[in-house]
Amino acid sequence: MGKSALILVMGFSFLFFLQGQNYYTANTEAFRNAMSYYDSTAIHEIALAGANMACTEVYREPSWRTGFSNISYNGGVFNVTAVNTGSSQRVQITSTATLNEQNYSIAIVIGPRSFSQYAYWGTGVSGGGGQVYWETGDTVTGPMHTQGTLRTTGAPTFLGRTTALNGINSINTSPSGPVFGSSFQSGLSIPLVSGSLGKLDSTATANGYRLNATGGANLYIVFNANGTVTVRQPLATSTPITQPLSTFAPNGVISINNGNIYVEGTVNGQVTILANKSSGTVGGTVNITGNLTYASDPRTDPTQTSMLGIVAQNDIVIRDNSATQFTVMGSIYSATTGLVVQNLSTRPAGNLTLVGGLIGPILYATSNGGTGSGRRGYNLGIRYDTRFMNDAPPFYPTTGTYQILSWYE
């Protein structure tokens, strides 16, 4: 019996040993599972570290493409490359982390934050030095910034992200005040960057078209739907030159310094026109003499790729051509003033539609404010071109900061 008992015990010892092995395996697997989760988290943080360091290098020096090679961090290493992508102003940063023979990558595309991303940028100052009040019926359909106090009366609607430097001042809020479709943030400072137009003018010199005007010379531009541009200078009666836009201004920038631009037509391509004024008293104005549009409305045609930037040191003028419907497609930027409607007190009443954005310190009236048969000038409708959220006309003025266009991890 004793022998049997001993054999029994030894037999069971062996069985428990086997079970113990299984139990040990479960424990090991559980530990391995936890460590695999740790490794996947740690490798992600290593790649993130590389991506962050690269973004700040590009921020500090936009031409930085050196990258990082085998930088040790937190038990692993990261390698980072930075290469141009799309337009020369965009950078693709790829950060690859290696930990325990595993790899993980984060890919980022960053680009300068363009002022064209705003449907409206202003200072809250109106023509004549008064204050701008957005009122019931006014609608801004894209991002908007006021480098001052945002003033409202009644219930204007701001559908995009709205920011202001000095808060909001709302009056006549009964029965309702302003409506924000996205968010409102105060305390944000986004000033126009001085020297932007000089930089743009230099870009035109590098690989665009630039005219340094003398003796009152101006540029007369007609964009043609077939992708060409007809240009006369220095006078409206000068012999025209017609060329494909890509030949006339390969990098898409057409500039005149110390002169004015007169422009209309159908834009087929991506172009920024600039009326700069570096000295003297003449120049720096863009005059829009007729409808200035794309072949199709980008709000309804997702295949539309044309983009127009209209940049001026001073006014951008809607010339009086007696039309009751006037359409401009593009993002308008004035460094010192804003959009001006010529003869707003006498020209026929109608509608001025801007598909794009309006950036300028001063918001001028576009009509005489009259009603019925006494009304003259235009109702202004700004319709945001949503493509400008992530894209911009060539070398359009930027805020001096970068934005993430895409972040893939």
Partner: protein
């Protein structure tokens, strides 16, 4: 022999029970490790959602902020009146030391109790590695989160052991989870 068998059986029972206790504890610790990893990741993500520095918060944030305008290395931490979780910039987490755990939807604690400690410091690249920078602000800060718990031990069990050479393992030494990341300044 029968008595011998019974003695052996008794010893076997004790050993198996001890082993079961150890293994049960070890499997549980793996679960707590997973929890501590997700806890650490939560603090990292929370920090990354903040502004880089108090000095880069609106309206102190013109497009030309330089590193030298940021908080001095010795002053990294929450500003007066700031308390977790209502921090407003990345380095407010510096020297955060708190007890954290998971509660189910009814508020009952359902996992181990963890101690979370955070450290934020400026760093730079030197000699192919990331090193702390203590003399002046830089454009990059490092966030280190450390999570420990009395229920997560280095040797995976709390019973004392004697090693083969006669030495003694020190049981009950808490295992430490460390996660780090970098956060840099570029104005969005």
């Amino acid at each position: 022999m029968t008595i011998l068998a019974m003695v052996l059986m008794g010893r076997l029972i004790v050993m198996v029970n001890e082993n079961n206790a150890n293994m049960g504890e070890a499997v549980k610790m793996s679960e707590y490790r997973i929890t501590s990893i997700s806890l650490a990741e939560s603090y990292l993500e929370d920090a990354i959602g903040k502004e880089y520095d108090e000095k880069t918060l609106p309206p102190n944030d013109p497009p030309t902020v330089t590193a030298s305008t940021c908080t001095a290395p010795g002053s990294l931490g929450p500003e007066s009146g700031e308390a977790y979780p209502y921090f407003d910039d990345f380095d407010d987490f510096n020297n955060l030391d708190r007890v954290d755990t998971l509660r189910d939807l009814s508020g009952k604690i359902i996992t181990a109790i963890f101690r979370v400690r955070c450290k934020v410091e400026y760093v730079k690249i030197s000699g192919g590695t990331i090193v702390p920078e203590t003399s002046a602000p830089t454009y990059t800060k490092q966030f280190t989160v450390t999570v420990t718990s009395a229920n997560v031990l280095k040797d995976n069990f709390s019973y004392s052991l004697t090693s083969s050479n006669g030495g003694t393992y020190t049981p009950n030494v808490q295992d430490t989870l460390v996660l780090r990341t970098l956060y840099s300044y570029w104005r969005l």
